[in-house]
């Protein structure tokens, strides 16, 4: 049966001599893995439409429960080439792709996550094309943090940072093992708290509630953004039982260039 939908390429995996297995996120089928015949050949009709981040209209053929349907057509809607063009920008975005692959189940529609990814990519691209933004990397970190916070909410893994996860009272210490802030009474006997500043908490609530179009109005300090990012990254690492691979490489690369 022929299916038609749209999707964003998350990753590709070489298969055989010149074939690829392409992982898409689609609005109506969630994560979708498709088999593409010979796209690695120079004269392939798929051209650059299977490169990561490409938003395209796709058609694929396969029975309903086929694990790997065959991709028959892929027309680019938007390539996000300017995001792919810069290593640091692409590395920042790769974290979003890795998060999506790890959290969204296959063949399970998740429109909110799909449009969140698409809108964040558009915002990052607009930011990169806008000459007035002198510090693109810092803005991208803000966009990526916004994506992570919203994405965790849509995936049902949001950390509870606004009040104690047990009794609802106020608190300033975040406990990774509980994915939540705990007040002094509830935290008795639990080790390793991470102190969270009121400013970081305010930033978290802003990022959680504000739309991507308004995010550029927020100008948090690097220290504040990195405080919040660290907590979110630790929370993700705890849920996945492993760190995001792109996160480690991104930090390494940025440190390497700045030193």
């Amino acid at each position: 049966m022929l299916h038609r939908t749209e999707g964003v390429v998350l990753r590709t995996f070489p298969f055989g001599e010149a074939d690829l297995i392409v992982t898409y996120i689609t609005p109506d089928l969630g994560i979708l893995k498709l088999f593409a015949k010979s796209p690695r050949k120079i004269k392939s009709r798929f051209g650059s439409s299977l490169e990561p981040l490409t938003h395209s209209r796709i058609a694929f053929w396969g029975k309903e429960n086929t694990p790997l349907p065959r991709l028959t057509q892929s027309d680019i809607i938007h390539s996000f080439q300017s995001v792919r063009n810069t290593l640091s920008r692409f590395l920042a975005v790769s974290e979003m792709l890795e998060l999506t692959i790890n959290f969204i189940p296959e063949r399970d529609a998740n429109k909110k996550s799909y449009f969140l990814l698409l809108n964040t990519l558009k915002a990052i691209e607009d930011n990169s094309l806008d000459n007035s933004s002198v510090i693109p990397l810092e803005n991208e970190n803000l966009f990526v943090s916004h994506f992570k916070i919203k994405f965790l909410k849509f995936a049902g893994f949001s950390p509870k940072l606004d009040a104690c996860g047990r009794c609802g009272k106020n608190g300033n210490n975040f406990y990774i093992s509980h994915g939540s802030i705990l007040c002094e009474t509830c935290a008795r006997g639990i080790d390793y708290p991470i102190r969270i500043s009121p400013a970081a908490l305010k930033l978290y609530i802003d990022l959680l509630t504000w739309d991507i179009s308004k995010i550029r109005r927020i100008k948090p300090s690097n220290m504040l953004l990195s405080e919040l990012s660290n907590i979110i990254n630790m929370h993700i690492k705890y849920i996945l039982s492993k760190p995001l691979r792109c996160r480690d490489f991104f930090s390494f690369h940025v440190n390497d260039l700045t030193n």
């Binding site: 650059s48 981040l53 390539s79 480690d248």
Partner: protein, 197 residues
């Protein structure tokens, strides 16, 4: 139950890329009609390549000696180094007869999402070669896709302190292709990289 010898050969041949069961069957029956000398030649060549093939100590090309024929060739231009992803890329570039310098094989491309980090590639060895030799130009000929482009940019960044000319092979349309069927990214790159004639 033990397999018939023909069946066994067919099964072994299907392990090769691009060979399905029908092709394997055709090849197996062709091997049966071949002279014993030719058939043994194929078998010997396969065993030899598995026994003797190793990576060149300099460039990580496939060779049977410590240093490959290209690295040991004194006629080649030692001021230019072409960086490729896989040893098979060297064969293709050599066939073009457009490059007379040396090569460096990375044995992969960067892809943090798949766990391919710089430590897993031969990037440290590339830096060592840059430090040791008086190179004038490094041509990055990684694949024209996102992983290849990321690798190229990473190498460019990492080689900045050495003040060496780093170039990237051109993007564009394949010869014999038709503009009508080109996608916008490839065509955009071809227009960006246009040259005066």
């Amino acid at each position: 139950m033990e397999q018939n010898i023909i069946e066994k050969l067919i099964n072994e041949l299907t392990k090769l890329p691009g060979i399905g069961r029908k092709t394997a069957q055709r090849l197996a029956f062709f091997i049966l009609t071949m002279s014993e000398e030719d058939a043994k030649g194929i078998s010997k060549a396969i065993s030899e390549v598995k026994e003797k093939a190793r990576f060149c100590n300099e460039c990580f090309n496939i060779t049977e000696n410590e240093v490959c024929d290209i690295c040991s060739n004194t006629v080649r231009d030692r001021s230019k180094l072409c960086v490729v992803e896989e040893p098979c890329n060297i064969l293709v570039i050599e066939r073009s007869k457009c490059f007379n310098g040396l090569y460096h094989v990375l044995l992969g491309a960067l892809s943090p999402i798949d766990g391919m980090t710089p430590e897993k590639l031969k990037i440290k060895e590339l830096i060592r070669r840059v430090e040791k030799n008086s190179l004038q130009e490094i041509i990055i000929a990684t694949n024209p896709n996102t992983k290849g482009e990321m690798t190229a940019q990473y190498i460019r960044d990492i080689l900045k302190p050495y003040n060496i000319k780093v170039t990237r092979i051109a993007y564009g349309l394949p010869i014999g292709g038709d503009i009508e069927f080109a996608d916008e990214v490839t065509l955009g790159k071809a227009i960006e990289g246009r040259r005066e004639i």
